[in-house]
């Protein structure tokens, strides 16, 4: 065959190599393809796909099963071919009796068979047959348990013998005796005669007696039916009684075959039960319980090995309970269940003698009853602490007093009143005590402004109470509870635990540090632990006004979002002072928090000793180390147990098995942790980075010594901006890591802060302070953001919001202003790359101070709406932004060249242009500095920048960011800065190299 086929292969390669296929297989294939279907069917051989013949067994056809491997026969039978298509579905065929009947059977069935006509049907056989068939037909129509025609033997009694038929024809009826019919008639005759005789003898009383006789007769008839009809003849001929099968034995099985003596007993019992049945309408219950108790099952079906004890005696009993056959039927449905239970029980406790399954498992739901209320409980709370909430309201209203002329004093009084109102009388006493010698606090001792103070206090209290009334119970109760919780241990005589808060508080107070404990019944919405602590450190005790401002500051800080209004007293203070103070506050707050974190307030006075006098800059250097050191001490001291928390992802099935809801349900599997911080930098679009590098290079080329400072600052600015962007990126990716990375990145900051240049110029300081302020604000924002997010990756919640922002801000212009940069080379101005990250508006804009005085303060603007808008930036938006940056850069290139002059005028121009980019909203809180420093806000630009300016106008806001200090900032700020630090670092080096 191979050779044959080889002749026909001309083109291409054969699909299969012929040698590999066995000849058998080939044959099979050929057969299947119909090539060999030439032989007559009975000569064909059936083979499987391997070409083998199948041997079916010596007695079952040998190699061919059925009729030559078909299901046909010699006569032929063609199987129905199964066809089913979409249009004509194969229908399910219902087989009927007809399908299996022969022709003659069918004939017979339809009555076409030969039979005796009715005319000659002497004995009614044909009629009976007909009736039977009729009945059969009816039966078919009726639904029945047994399908098809019911066997005649079951339904129809055996046909009567000819004798019976004759008797019936003669008027004999079934059950009637043949012999005694004459006796009966005799009896009847006799009765008739007697009646007649009586009727005759009665005479005139006939009517009555007859009637009585009739009655009598009737009575007799009724009372003696047996004499009349039933019993007599019933005994003569056996009545053919169909005994219904009432037991569940097999047909023909007689349980009493070898024990006939029980048959009688059974019958009597059955009669008994029947009687009871007649007596009682519902004897089921009785028999249900009755028969089980006494009798033992006949032992049929119980294995030899299974010993039965009291419980399982009736496992099979009911099945062989002949007596109860009637009742059993009613009981039937419940039986299997019963049996199951019994079996189950049997299995459970039968095997281990001495072992018993728990009667009650702990599966039950826990139900908690209501707590028992002690008898002497009065459902009215009495406040132990002299909280002046309700009682003070009743005080008479102090007269309205005009505020004192001294604005400072007024502010101080205001602040004091607020605090006292909030914290209670205790605070007033304390501060009075502390400030006895302080002339500023004369109002507390009846000096200047006391009236105003009283009035103010009253007002504040009113306000406070109003605001608090609705939440009065909860808040105060909590406070009181807190107090008692501390004392509870003492009351119970427990040994005070180490490191208890109380202890530290006491020690701190004893060292005469300003550690005030008062009931902070603040109404402000602090989301942090700060407000929950009943104690607040007062770092500015020596300056109560300042302290008041500090409180205010804290309040605002934790109100969430940005502080929008002036801090109290700011109107009198110079901007520089205000900024410095703000920094101080930040530092103090941070220190306090740090102390709290360690659960030990490291005598704040110490902390602040290093901090406060050297306000602005100095606290950049010392403090973190100090804090760190103290922390380390803490760790050493209470090293163990140390608690850490991690994220852990239980598998869904585990949750299911524990009957809990998967906390990570629907969330994607955890992303692999970023390998390094550099990974996140990859998200930075390259062009921007490149542009920056370029900038730096150019800056580095500036030779003027003055520009050195500026350039560094500029570099930092840029870096800050980068930070911002990166922070956003981080927010998208993994905020938790973001914060971790922020906090772990201190060393770079240190180096930055040790920069000596910063300390030189007071103006510079101011600027620096401003920058820091802005960063703090940004930090606030970040913190609140973090809180909102709960430090977790938000799936994609504020998407819609972002989209809006995104569209609005996609036009936000990202500018790399070359010109400005170049002019900055003169040393006057520094520009920045401000770019808006979509949705976030996390722009950083630099206004850089220079030698000229009037420009000292860069405008610092904070965007009030940042919190909401900055939510979660979209990546794509960011990309757009970066592209914009690129474009913008290209656009600006030509004007850049043009503007390359070194005149101061041009620098002025640049400045204004730059400033024009600072868009403000009316809400902008940070505008305090920029507005006041140079009020000019230009929205016009030189004609070369028209395009850009229009774009910018569409952008709603800008924020300038001034950052210098990374030290002493609240941790939020550090968050801000950490990304840049490294880069900045490198860049600074770069610059230096260039300068050299």
């Amino acid at each position: 065959m191979d050779s044959d086929e080889e002749d026909f292969v001309f083109y291409g390669t054969p699909i299969e190599r012929e040698e590999e296929i066995t000849s058998r297989k080939k044959k099979a294939v050929a057969e299947a393809s119909g090539q060999l279907r030439t032989a007559v069917p009975w000569k064909q051989e059936v083979r499987d796909e391997e070409g083998r013949r199948r041997f079916h067994g010596a007695f079952t056809g040998g190699f061919s099963a059925g009729y030559y491997n078909t299901v046909g026969s010699k006569e032929g039978w063609t199987p129905q071919s199964f066809t089913s298509s979409r249009k004509s579905r194969a229908e399910f065929k219902q087989q009927s009796v007809q399908d299996f009947l022969d022709e003659d059977e069918k004939d017979e069935l339809e009555g076409r068979s030969l039979e005796t006509s009715m005319q000659f049907d002497t004995f009614g056989f044909t009629a009976a047959e007909l009736a039977r068939k009729q009945a059969e037909k009816e039966q078919e129509k009726r639904p029945s348990a047994i399908p098809g025609p019911v066997p005649d033997e079951v339904l129809v009694p055996a046909s009567e013998s000819i004798g019976i038929k004759l008797l019936l024809k003669m008027g004999w009826r079934r059950g009637r005796s043949i012999k005694e019919s004459s006796a009966n008639s005799l009896y009847d005759l006799r009765r008739e005669a007697r009646k007649a005789f009586l009727a005759l003898s009665a005479g005139d009383t006939a009517g009555k007696s007859a009637s009585s006789e009739l009655v009598d007769n009737d009575v007799e008839d009724v009372t003696d039916p047996s004499a009349d009809d039933g019993t007599v003849f019933s005994r003569s001929t056996p009545v053919y009684v169909l005994n219904p099968k009432q037991d569940s034995h097999g047909l023909g099985y007689d349980p009493f075959k070898h024990a006939p003596e029980f048959r009688e007993r059974k019958r009597s019992r059955m009669l008994g039960t029947k009687e009871t049945l007649h007596r009682k309408p519902f004897p089921v219950g009785d028999s249900l319980f009755g028969f089980k108790s006494g009798r033992v099952a006949p032992g049929f079906g119980i294995g030899a090995l299974e010993d039965y004890d009291a419980e399982d005696e009736d496992v099979y009993a009911s099945g062989y309970d002949f007596e109860e056959s009637y009742v059993e039927e009613t009981e039937e449905p419940s039986k299997p269940m019963n049996e199951n239970i019994k079996l189950l029980r049997n299995k459970e406790d039968g095997l281990l003698p001495g072992f018993k399954a728990a009667s009650n498992s702990d599966y039950q739901l826990e139900r908690f009853g209501p707590p028992v209320i002690p008898k002497d409980f009065v459902p009215h709370h009495k406040f132990t602490a002299p909280l002046d909430v309700g009682n003070k309201i009743t005080e008479e209203t102090p007269p309205e007093v005009p505020p004192p002329d001294d604005n400072n004093l007024k502010l101080m009084i205001d602040g004091m009143a607020t605090l006292v109102a909030r914290c209670g009388k205790l605070f007033e006493d304390l501060s009075r005590q502390k400030n006895q010698s302080n002339p500023l606090f004369a109002f507390l001792f009846g000096g200047n402004g006391q009236d105003y103070y009283t009035r103010k206090l009253w007002e504040e209290r009113q306000k406070h109470n109003d605001g608090k009334k609705w939440q009065l119970d909860g808040k105060i109760f909590q406070n009181v509870k807190k107090m008692t919780a501390e004392n509870r241990g003492k009351i119970l005589g427990e040994k005070p635990l180490e490191r208890s808060l109380e202890d530290t508080a006491v020690t701190a107070a004893s060292t005469d540090t300003v550690n005030l404990q008062f009931n902070l019944a603040d109404t402000f919405t602090k989301p942090v632990s700060f407000g929950e602590d009943p104690e607040v450190v007062k770092p500015f005790q020596d300056d109560p006004a300042k302290q008041a401002r500090f409180e205010q500051f804290l309040k605002e800080k934790y109100r969430g979002g940005l502080r929008s209004m002036d801090v109290g007293g700011s109107s009198q203070m110079s901007e520089a002072a205000r900024a410095r103070e703000r920094l101080e506050f930040e530092a103090a707050a941070e220190a306090i928090e740090k102390g709290k974190q360690g659960k030990e307030i490291n005598t704040p006075s110490q902390l602040f000793a290093g901090v406060l006098p050297t306000a602005g800059l100095q606290f950049t250097s010392g403090e973190p180390e100090q804090a760190k050191a103290s922390k380390e001490e803490l760790i050493k001291e209470k090293r163990y147990p140390r608690r850490e928390e991690f994220q852990w992802r239980p598998s869904p099935i585990l949750c299911k098995r524990f009957d809990l809801i998967d906390p990570y349900m629907g969330k994607p599997p955890p992303a692999p942790r970023p390998r390094s911080k550099m990974d996140t930098l990859i998200f930075m679009p390259d062009p921007v980075v490149a542009a920056k590098v370029e900038e730096n290079v150019m800056l580095g080329n500036d030779q003027s010594s003055l520009s050195k400072v500026g350039s560094e600052e500029k570099g930092r600015e840029i870096v800050d901006e980068e930070i911002k962007v990166e922070v956003n990126v981080e927010n998208v990716e993994k905020p938790v890591d973001l914060y971790k990375a922020i906090f772990s990145d201190d060393e770079d900051d240190d180096e930055d802060d040790s920069n000596p240049i910063q300390a030189e110029d007071p103006q510079k300081n101011v600027e620096v302070v401003n920058k820091t302020l802005n960063r703090l604000i940004a930090g606030d924002f970040l913190e609140s953001l973090g809180k909102e997010l709960g430090l977790e990756v938000p799936p994609d919640l504020p998407y819609t919001e972002n989209r809006e922002c995104g569209t609005a801000s996609s036009k936000e212009v990202i500018i790399v202003d070359r010109e400005e940069k170049d002019t900055a080379g003169v040393g006057s101005n520094r520009s920045s790359v401000g770019y808006a990250v979509t949705g976030s508006f996390m722009t950083a804009e630099v206004a850089r101070a220079s030698n000229d005085k009037q420009n000292t303060t860069g405008s610092a603007q904070t965007n009030g709406s940042r919190k909401t808008e900055a939510g979660i930036p979209e990546k794509s938006g960011r990309k757009d932004a970066s592209e914009n940056v690129k474009k913008e850069e290209r656009k600006t290139k030509s004007p850049t060249r043009r503007a390359r002059n070194w005149s101061s005028g041009s620098s002025e121009d640049e400045r204004s242009r730059k400033r024009s980019r600072h868009r403000h909203r009316s809400r902008n809180s940070g505008s305090e500095t920029s507005d006041s420093s140079d009020g000019s806000r230009h929205y016009s630009r030189s004609e070369g920048k028209k395009k850009r300016s229009s774009q910018e106008k569409s952008s709603s806001q800008r924020h300038s960011k001034h950052r210098k200090h990374r030290h002493r900032d609240s941790p939020e700020t550090q968050r801000d800065s950490r990304y840049g630090s490294r880069k900045e670092h490198g860049r600074a080096k770069n610059r230096r190299r260039h300068k050299d």
Partner: protein, 302 residues
């Protein structure tokens, strides 16, 4: 108060359950305290009625020593583990192994059912916790927790948490409900952990012969109990049914009772001739079973 407590302590031996050949490594009451299970070096698990002092059944299938055993709340299933790196899931009545969970790379130290007896959690020498599903026929672990840096010695389950103590010095709580792992570093290898009956504290027996009481919610160290020897054996500790005392064995065969609050050793007596490997307290009554390397299990009552 402490004196009154001492009187109620089970210090009277009522039964000695003998039958194990070799060291008994663990003895555990069942959930209602009616029976007790023990397992040991002889590769068997035995079911006892400690109150009547009778041995009910022996479960043999383990190939090496059996280190821990636990029974479901309805007494119908057992789980056990040991040196053969497998967790066995038994039918109590028939004594047959329903399933064997293979997967641990090393010996398995502890095993526990969860509340619904649907999951078995095992703690192994391979630094991991594994959760096995009893419902399905899947013999793969449904969860592997391998954040431990050393052998996991002991495991406890609550309704929502898996708590395990490890030789790396940590007690780790895995909260399934919030998907969080809380690690409390004790600085000392943790030998055994046990939950207080109110569920608020963890008792951790460390290998520096100190039992530490931790507050579960704050991770604070509440108390330390010292006086016994526990340096190299896996030994149990537990709280009494009233949470008033801490009890634990010692390597010299003593049993110690400490006052929960002031950490004073109220009572200590020699119970066994060798290391006390396990103590188990009756959930309701003042009754305790202890097992020892000397091959006996002793039942103590007041």
């Amino acid at each position: 108060m402490s004196n009154a407590g001492a009187e109620s302590l089970p210090t009277k031996e009522v039964n000695v359950l003998k039958g194990h050949e070799g060291a008994v490594l663990a003895a555990r009451f069942n959930s209602n305290g009616e029976y007790c299970l023990s397992c040991g070096k002889d590769r068997t698990i035995r079911l006892w009625n400690p109150h009547r002092g009778i041995h009910i059944k022996t479960y043999k299938s383990h190939g090496r020593e059996v280190r821990d055993v636990h029974v479901t709340p309805d007494n119908s299933k057992l789980c056990s583990c040991g040196g053969d790196r497998q967790v066995f899931y038994w039918d109590v009545a028939s004594g047959r192994v329903i399933r064997k969970f293979r997967g641990h790379d090393s010996e398995v130290n502890a095993v526990k059912f969860n509340e619904y007896a649907t999951v078995v959690v095992s703690a192994g020498n391979d630094h991991s916790l594994r959760a096995w599903d009893c419902r399905s026929h899947n013999t793969e672990p449904i969860q592997i927790i391998d954040t431990f840096r050393d052998t996991v010695m002991s495991v406890c389950l609550t309704k929502t948490e898996i708590i395990a103590g490890s030789v790396d010095g940590t007690v780790r709580t895995f909260d399934i409900r919030i998907g969080r792992e809380i690690s409390d570093d004790l600085g000392q290898p943790v030998n055994c952990i046990s939950l207080s009956n109110d569920g608020n504290c963890i008792l951790a027996s460390c290998l520096d012969s100190t039992i530490r009481l931790l507050d579960r919610y704050t991770g604070e160290l509440l108390q330390e109990y010292k006086g016994h020897t526990c340096k190299s054996f896996k030994m149990d500790c537990c709280l009494t049914n009233s949470d008033a005392h801490v009890t634990g064995g010692s390597e010299d065969g003593f049993i110690y009772f400490w006052d929960l609050v002031d950490a004073s050793a109220i009572s200590s007596f020699r119970a066994h001739s060798s290391v006390v490997t396990s103590v188990s307290y009756h959930p309701k009554d003042s009754c305790m079973v202890t097992s020892s390397v000397d091959g006996t299990i002793r039942v103590w009552k007041t």
